[in-house]
């Protein structure tokens, strides 16, 4: 997957601050990261490390306080206006009043695809997520896992160059989640889309990714990038390989090393926790 080595996302010296002067929260500081075409990169870290903020910066849902985000040689804003992003959130965010098929067709509709194209595309995408028989049902008639697969089909419908996923399986039970991970691997292989994936789960990050970006909080920084050299395709057996467990340990230790030195929270940490609670 790394043979095509052109950079898709280039993040240079990015910082992000929230709030007014005097009550300022540094969400991200000195972020440098390059993501290549066809990669599957996970962002992992404790709450408040800014991993979701980083994803939103790439997708131009918020803008950096300093530094630049470049996507395929353009600014993130131009990339958004050029419709290069597919987005999947933790909640499926489907529209109740539309059938599953019409939900998948929503981006195609607003982007001006004609009817025949929309139908062909939505049919193909629903088959890709194995929901071919559910096109005419409504989202509220589906289970949580199925709804999230509809959201993935919708995100891929217009063939975006980049798929941004913000804890997409965070609300699912463990078994459904593992099944969805396998599904996502298959979809990634079939479409060749570059995927950036935010997660809380170490096993999930290791299983899915070509690289895991480990972040630390206060301020949000990249503490380590772990290359996951597990063989492709990833299957059920991948989770039983010794190499897999070694990577899980590596990521876990990288996370632990940055969990506040002596274990005693200082004032700034308490302040931070409060700020998060408010947000």
């Amino acid at each position: 997957m790394t043979s095509d080595a052109s950079p898709v996302v280039e993040i240079r010296g990015v910082g992000k601050e929230f709030g007014e002067a005097g009550d300022r929260l540094i969400a991200l500081q000195d972020i440098d990261l390059t993501i290549l075409a066809g990669e599957f990169v996970s962002l992992i870290g404790p709450s408040g490390c800014g991993k979701s903020t980083l994803l939103r910066l790439i997708g131009d849902l918020t803008s950096p306080t300093s530094g630049t985000v470049t996507v395929n040689g353009r600014s993130a804003r131009q990339a958004r206006l050029g419709r290069e992003y597919g987005m999947v959130f933790q909640a499926p965010v489907l529209m109740d009043w539309r059938t599953v098929q019409k939900n998948v067709e929503l981006p195609l509709e607003v982007m001006g695809y004609d009817r025949a194209q929309r139908q062909a595309r939505s049919k193909a995408m629903l088959e890709l997520v194995e929901l071919g028989d559910f096109g005419q049902t409504h989202p509220w008639q589906l289970s949580g896992g199925m709804q999230q697969r509809v959201a993935i089909a919708r995100a891929l419908a217009f063939d975006p160059k980049l798929l941004l996923m913000d804890e997409p399986f965070g609300a699912l039970d463990e078994m459904t989640r593992e099944r969805m991970n396998l599904e996502l691997m298959r979809i990634w292989r079939q479409t060749g889309t570059t995927i950036i994936f935010v997660t809380h789960s170490i096993p999930e990050a290791v299983f899915l990714s070509t690289r895991v970006v480990v972040m630390s909080a206060r301020p949000g920084q990249i503490s380590r990038i772990v290359d996951i050299d597990l063989p492709q395709p990833r299957t059920v057996e991948t989770r039983e390989q010794e190499r897999y467990f070694e990577h899980v340990t590596t990521v876990r230790e990288a996370l632990r090393r940055h969990e506040g030195g002596d274990g005693r929270p200082d004032d700034s940490e308490i302040l931070q926790i409060r700020a998060e609670g408010l947000a």
């Binding site: 997708g59 849902l61 958004r80 206006l81 050029g82 419709r83 992003y85 987005m87 959130f89 909640a91 965010v93 529209m95 109740d96 009043w97 539309r98 929503l106 981006p107 509709e109 607003v110 982007m111 194995e130 929901l131 028989d133 559910f134 049902t137 409504h138 509220w140 008639q141 589906l142 289970s143 896992g145 199925m146 217009f158 099944r179 599904e183």
Partner: protein, 311 residues
């Protein structure tokens, strides 16, 4: 993956269908029960504190002579204030005026006339309300500037405004429709505002990631999200438009409509109190029919598309 999910689907469908069938029967029973209960309370009050009455005649060959003297005497339960229910029911099938058509014919004709005015007023008011709602969601400044006036407009008594509108507008029924619209636009504005705001902010972000125009967000996301709220407010507006039309008719001098019936029968109340009560019943029925029509349209538009929300 599709196999384990299929039973969930079947279950949720079954779960949606059966309570509906059950609740419909329960609702009809509840409505009937309440109606009978109302009649019992009405006649029970007259039995206790109304005017004395006497039943005299021959029923099935058996001569009957019965006199009832209520133990108490209340002013509100006299035959003048509160006629017997059978007197009111009987009034419908008697001529409204000597040698004229039956009261029910007169009232139904007037109800149709009032309904026409209410419908035009409803259409004007609902359109205005929707436009205001959309305008307010597009601009915070517009909302802050105008909403106090919208609220203030509803605190002014409609009976004070109605004569002014009737004087300004030479066309009688149109003036009445405008008064109905005045009562209609407010709930629709508020319902539209609330509904348009109800759109999921994450869905708005999703639309932004597609780089769509604000107008597309309005059409594809905000308006469909607003529909359940909008219809709830349209039901309120429908009954308000009937009230508005009747109040508008009172100073208009139009010889048709339920408003004219009310004026007319109020004037001759002493000689026939049942006729005014019959008019009140027809006005209430008209409101129910109008609300029912809005409900039917809502069912047509939203059927199967929205999660069932009981309102």
């Amino acid at each position: 993956m599709a196999i384990p999910a299929a039973p969930t689907l079947a279950l949720s469908n079954a779960g949606r269908a059966s309570p509906t069938a059950l609740s419909r029967r329960a609702r009809i029973l509840a409505i009937l029960g309440l109606f009978i209960g109302l009649l019992v309370v009405w006649e029970g009050a007259k039995w206790l504190g109304g005017d004395p009455w006497r039943l005299h005649g021959v029923v099935l060959g058996v001569p009957i002579d019965y006199e009832h003297f209520p133990p108490l005497k209340w002013r509100i339960t006299t035959d003048l204030a509160l006629p017997h229910v059978w007197e009111i029911a009987g009034a419908f099938v008697q001529p409204a005026q000597r040698n004229g058509p039956l009261l029910i014919q007169v009232l139904l004709g007037n109800a149709v006339f009032t309904f026409g005015e209410a419908l035009v007023g409803f259409a004007i008011g609902a359109t205005l309300g929707l436009i205001l709602g959309i305008a307010f969601t597009q601009s915070r400044t517009a909302e802050r500037a105008f909403v106090p006036y919208v609220v203030a407009s509803q605190t002014v008594p409609i009976v004070a405004i109605a004569p002014l509108v009737v004087i300004f507008l030479p066309v009688g029924w149109l003036a009445v429709a405008i008064i109905a619209a005045y009562l209609t636009f407010f709930p629709v504005t508020m319902g539209a505002l609330r509904g348009l705001r109800s759109a999921d902010p994450r869905a708005v972000e999703l639309m932004r990631s597609y780089a769509v125009s604000p107008r597309q967000i309005l059409w594809k996301l905000r308006l469909p999200s607003a529909l359940p709220y909008l219809f709830a407010s349209l039901r309120i507006a429908a009954s308000a438009s009937v009230v508005g039309a009747i109040i508008g008719e009172l100073p208009s001098g139009i010889p048709y409509g339920l408003g004219s019936s009310i004026l007319n029968f109020k004037q001759y109340y002493v000689s026939g109190p049942s006729k005014l009560w019959a008019t009140i019943i027809v006005a209430a029925m008209l409101g129910l029919v109008f609300v029912g029509l809005v409900r039917a349209v809502e069912a047509l538009v939203t059927r199967g598309r929205y999660r069932r929300i009981e309102t």
